[in-house]
């Protein structure tokens, strides 16, 4: 219904546009320039007046009606539903809705059928009144707008203001996204910390949410829960893999950047730079496949060759491949900051008889240090948040170890593990994923904010 109304509104807007435009033309006669605004603006103005109020009504009603409908059903069947738990009521509503719209339902019973009847009745009534209201709004808007059209009507101003409002709304999407992330993470986390104490989560040494499922049937003790949801092994695992990744990416990325910016000739750069860009463009799932299929067995074979026991999901394999993934990230960011160091500094050093490498090590790098530090911070943030490589190549078991040859797990791996598959949305396991997500968000955000600050300070220095 909403869709068909939406389409009719588009048609209405088109028709209003044409009418408005020709009306303005008729009023102006031969002297088009006697109009304050050109005819198209009058057309657009009339279209806006006719369709926009109805559009708002449509969206508003869509948000309200679902809640209204649910409360209607809940009122009507309060006797039957009072015995049910909240998730059961939700399931009941979902099923009733499905019956009403002809969807597939697991269990049908009499109450559900009745509820479905109520819902479809509500739906048809709501559709009827909505259609009438929309039609009335369109008519009022159109008539008002039509009367307003005149030689001195500043239609362009109104249309441009509407365009600007739309532009502002689009800019707001980015802000709303951030708010959405922050609020959804915080709300779910608060619910999680209602079940598991915050400090036990943050400083607990034992992580095995799988056992939460076993005890879910009986009464779960808070003590038990906190033992199960101790996130330190995850943080340690994330840290270990990130460290390995940075040990690979930082020197290789930085040295590549130095070579490209200060040594390589144009021909070499023209080949090497796209090569690094390709490395950056490879999807992470491909790196994950590479890590699991090639690198992990290779490391395991090599380790066993010299008599070391290596897990087939070793932190080393995941970290190494993640490092490869981050190389282009480090090198392009470092390249930017190294190139931003003024040539005059290099010339000054070269003028004293310093070799190129001495100039770079003693002059360029110290000058670019803040930028390089922030590049590294951004790379760390990238590594901490990376998901697919570790999901495919790192382990699931939460070992608290610093041995890179053993399997460790990370925050992102656990988020995926907890949320993939069918889950009750209220269980401590799903909520734990949001708490982990919050930690991840806070860490990466702080790293970014610090890095951007450093870069900004550094830029000001040379601008």
């Amino acid at each position: 219904m909403t869709l068909s109304l939406l389409i009719s509104l588009v048609v209405v807007a088109l028709v209003a546009f044409i009418i408005g435009r020709s009306r303005a033309r008729v009023l102006a006669g031969d002297q088009i320039s006697s109009l304050h605004s050109r005819p198209v603006y009058h057309g657009a103005y009339l279209a806006l007046m006719s369709a926009v109020p109805a559009l708002f009504l449509l969206f508003g009603w869509n948000i309200v009606s679902a809640r209204l409908q649910a409360s209607r059903v809940l009122d009507a069947f309060s006797d039957q539903l009072s015995a049910m738990s909240a998730p059961q009521v939700e399931a009941f509503l979902r099923d009733a809705k499905a019956i009403a719209t002809g969807g597939i339902v697991g269990f049908r019973d009499e109450t559900k059928e009745k509820a479905a009847l109520l819902i479809s009745e509500f739906q048809s009534q709501s559709d009827l009144w909505l259609t009438i209201a929309v039609a009335v709004l369109v008519l009022i808007g159109f008539l008002y707008g039509f009367r307003q059209i005149g030689l001195s009507k500043r239609a362009r101003h109104i249309v441009e203001r509407a365009i600007r409002a739309a532009l502002i709304a689009c800019s707001a999407v980015a802000v709303l996204t951030t708010l959405g992330i922050v609020f959804s993470l915080i709300f779910e986390s608060i619910r999680f910390f209602g079940k598991v104490p915050f400090w036990d989560f943050l400083f607990g040494l034992h992580w095995s949410p799988q056992s939460a499922f076993e005890s879910a049937g009986g009464t779960t003790l808070a003590d038990d829960q906190s033992i199960i949801f101790g996130a330190v092994p995850l943080f340690a695992g994330t840290l270990l893999i990130t460290l390995i990744a940075m040990l690979v990416a930082a020197p290789i990325g930085l040295m590549s950047a130095i070579y490209l910016s200060d040594y390589a000739d144009d021909r070499f750069r023209a080949i090497a730079k796209p090569l690094l860009e390709i490395l950056a463009g490879v999807p992470t799932v491909v790196y994950g496949f590479f890590a699991a299929l090639t690198v992990a067995p290779a490391i395991r074979g090599w380790g066993e060759g010299i008599g070391l026991s290596v897990s087939s999901e070793s932190a080393l394999a995941a970290g190494l491949v993640m490092g490869i993934m981050i190389i282009p990230f480090v090198s392009s960011l470092s390249d930017d900051v190294i190139s931003a160091v003024p040539q005059s500094l290099r010339d000054g050093s070269a003028g004293l008889g310093a070799t190129k490498s001495e100039t770079i090590r003693k002059v360029v790098l110290p000058a670019a240090l803040p930028g390089i530090v922030s590049a590294m911070l951004l790379a760390v943030s990238r590594a901490v948040g990376e998901t697919m490589i570790v999901v495919m190549a790192a382990g699931l078991a939460a070992n608290l170890t610093i041995n890179p040859l053993e399997a460790v797990t990370t925050v992102t791996v656990q988020i995926v593990t907890l949320l993939v598959g069918d889950q009750e949305f209220d269980s401590a396991k799903t909520l734990a994923a949001f708490a982990l997500g919050l930690v991840l968000f806070v860490i990466t955000l702080s790293l970014n904010v610090i890095a951007l600050r450093v870069v900004q300070k550094y830029r000001e220095q040379y601008d």
Partner: protein, 614 residues
């Protein structure tokens, strides 16, 4: 003036001065050489870094291509199906029982297969999806109904891999000497005047020794695990014994000890087993005469003669006992050159394809019934548990639908936001805040967007799970910062003189932007958008959160049908143990990379084409 200054410098003194200058020259030269060496080292370190990165790229791509290429072809079996009217109703050909039609045709192709267990095993040569494919073929060409027709059906993945030579090689040799074969079927005796089987028996024994070594080293590995477990038990015991441990820690330690004890028991048994097998193998390897029993742990030995194939079960130097897998045309004596020995080095127990399957496959191949060609199934079907029936088309369509949603949302919103922020927004704290916000949003891990999608779109707004609509919305939010940042850069690159020119002749601000600035910035915006779309196409993690990881056989037909996308399909296949799936995974990656390369190429062309220097 003093005498001293006039005094000529003594030859000695001059020599001294020269020497000291020479020394300092040498010093300086040494010093310079050292500095130049450091310079070279530094330069080569930089060059090496780039080569290391390039090497990784080459290794990555060659792994993918090497694994993926075989999946682009497939082997099909040509079966002659009896499509006469009594089997297939010409008015409704979809209803026929294609399974039994295929089984009958298979029986004809392999007439020597008898017995219930053999028949069942023979049916496993072809894919369980064969009836579906046959039915599809007939439905596409209803004219075929009415008589016998040769239809191609897919072989099972194990046979397919064998035919591609990926399970091992069947090595053929013709020993000098004649052999006498007792019968055409059943258990047969092979006798020869010469020691025709001696090299193969020796080879088997050599291999036994190698295998024994392998088993021993595996036992060694188990021993290391045992040691580790023992030390962990000790650690847990220490926790138990420590009076300071909390109750919960003690309980955990006790549970751990229990687990570890069980593990130790299991591993000890496994180790003993390995060692016993190794000893037995060694003993057999050392014997020099007599017959050798060839088990499933030994390389398989076949004798080919008169169009038949015999599997050798027991072999001595000049005689052998065997099982006929493919009937011989005739029994009797075969001279040199009329018979051959075939060896498959990988023991039967360590490969998927059995000896009789190899024999039947070879028989079918020599009959010309096997056709190798472009793998249509891979490019036209959805997910399947059977590797030979699994395709990426469902995922490609899912990716396409998802990207359409992403593009329709993120491009207009991103461009509009960029226009507002760059052209209209007053420069104040709020605008700064939005800018900082967008920059930070660009660096938020993608998985967090997945959490947002799960909490807001699925749980709060009750959109369907696994739908391209929701996936597209999540990816749109994720790519929005990229597009906004790129679009703002494109707008910034348009010189202010263009805006002034338009304003100067009385264009309104909106007119100046939409008539002049936007068209000039559009190529840059499109480039940014394509790069954002390429990112979205390769993204996996957020889609896992919103249930696009479900196993979906059907090709999605709309924006709210359950669907999966290419990267998620890759992720799911990568988890399957079968070698065939590993190849499908690599092949799917190749397809994904081709799409990404195409998109980036378009972006590069766009940038080159419309690049404008002011």
């Amino acid at each position: 003036m003093t005498d001293q200054t006039l005094q000529p410098i003594t030859p000695d003194g001059r020599a001294d001065a020269d020497a000291s200058r020479r020394r300092s020259d040498a010093d300086r030269r040494r010093h310079t050489a050292k500095r130049m060496a450091a310079e070279r080292r530094f330069k080569y370190a930089g060059l090496a870094s780039i080569f290391v990165a390039a090497a990784f790229l080459v290794l990555l791509l060659s792994t993918v291509v090497g694994n993926g290429l075989p999946a682009f072809t497939s082997n099909n079996l040509k079966l002659s199906l009896d499509l006469s009217a009594e089997n297939v109703d010409p008015t409704d050909p979809g209803k026929a029982d294609y399974r039994s039609l295929i089984n009958n045709a298979l029986k004809e192709a392999l007439p020597f297969v008898s017995g219930r267990s053999n028949t069942r095993a023979a049916r496993k040569l072809i894919s369980s999806g064969a009836p579906t494919i046959a039915r599809q073929t007939i439905l596409n060409n209803p004219d075929l109904v009415g008589q016998s027709q040769v239809i191609e059906v897919p072989l099972s993945d194990t046979v397919d891999l064998y035919l591609k030579g990926l399970s091992g090689d069947l090595v053929s040799s013709t020993p000098a000497g004649s052999v006498d074969i007792s019968d055409v079927s059943g258990t047969v005796e092979l006798t020869s005047g010469e020691a025709v089987f001696a090299p193969f028996v020796q080879q088997a024994r050599d291999l036994l020794a190698i295998n024994a070594q392998g088993l021993l080293s595996r036992a060694g590995g188990i021993q290391r695990s045992l040691d580790q477990s023992a030390s962990r038990i000790a650690a847990a015991q220490a926790v138990l014994d420590d009076a300071g441990s909390t109750e919960s820690a003690k309980a955990r330690a006790a549970r751990q000890i229990e687990d570890l004890t069980a593990t130790i028991e299991r591993l000890t048994a496994e180790k003993a087993n390995f060692e016993a097998r190794a000893d037995a193998l060694k003993a057999r390897a050392q014997s020099v005469s007599g017959t050798e029993e060839l088990t499933e742990n030994d390389p398989s030995l076949f004798v080919e003669a008169a169009g038949g194939l015999i599997k050798i079960t027991k072999a001595g130097n000049s005689g052998a006992t065997g099982e006929v897998l493919v009937s011989l045309a005739n029994a009797g004596t075969f001279d040199t050159g009329n018979w051959a020995v075939k060896v498959f080095e990988v023991p039967e127990s360590e490969r998927k394809i059995s000896d009789r399957e190899i024999a039947w496959t070879e028989s079918l191949r020599s009959a010309g019934a096997i056709e190798s060609g472009w793998n249509d199934i891979f490019f036209s079907r959805g997910a399947s548990r059977e590797p030979e029936m699994a395709g990426i088309w469902g995922a490609v369509v899912g990716s396409f639908l998802t990207l359409i949603v992403t593009l329709l949302l993120s491009f207009p919103i991103g461009v509009a936001a960029a226009i507002y922020l760059e052209e209209f927004a007053p420069k104040n704290r709020l605008t700064d805040l939005i800018e900082v916000n967008i920059n930070n949003l660009a660096a938020v891990p993608s998985i967090v967007f997945g959490l947002l999608g799960l909490a807001v779109f699925i749980n709060f707004a009750e959109f369907p799970r696994s739908a391209p609509l929701v996936g597209g919305m999540v990816l749109a939010l994720m790519t929005l910062p990229t597009i906004i940042i790129a679009s703002r850069a494109a707008l910034k690159a348009v010189p202010p003189s263009i805006r002034e020119a338009a304003l100067g002749i009385g264009a309104s601000r909106s007119q100046a932007v939409f008539h002049h600035v936007l068209p000039l910035a559009m190529p840059g915006m499109l480039t940014g958008t394509i790069i954002g779309m390429a990112q979205a196409l390769g993204e996996t993690a957020p889609l896992l959160m919103i249930g696009m990881v479900a196993f979906i056989v059907d090709i999605p037909g709309g924006f709210i049908d359950p669907a999966t996308v290419l990267p998620v399909q890759i992720y799911m296949w990568a988890d399957f143990p079968e070698l065939a799936f590993q190849q499908k995974t690599a092949a799917a990656i190749m397809v994904l990379l081709v799409f990404l390369v195409l998109m980036n190429a378009i972006a590069v062309v766009l940038r080159k084409r419309f690049e404008r220097r002011w």
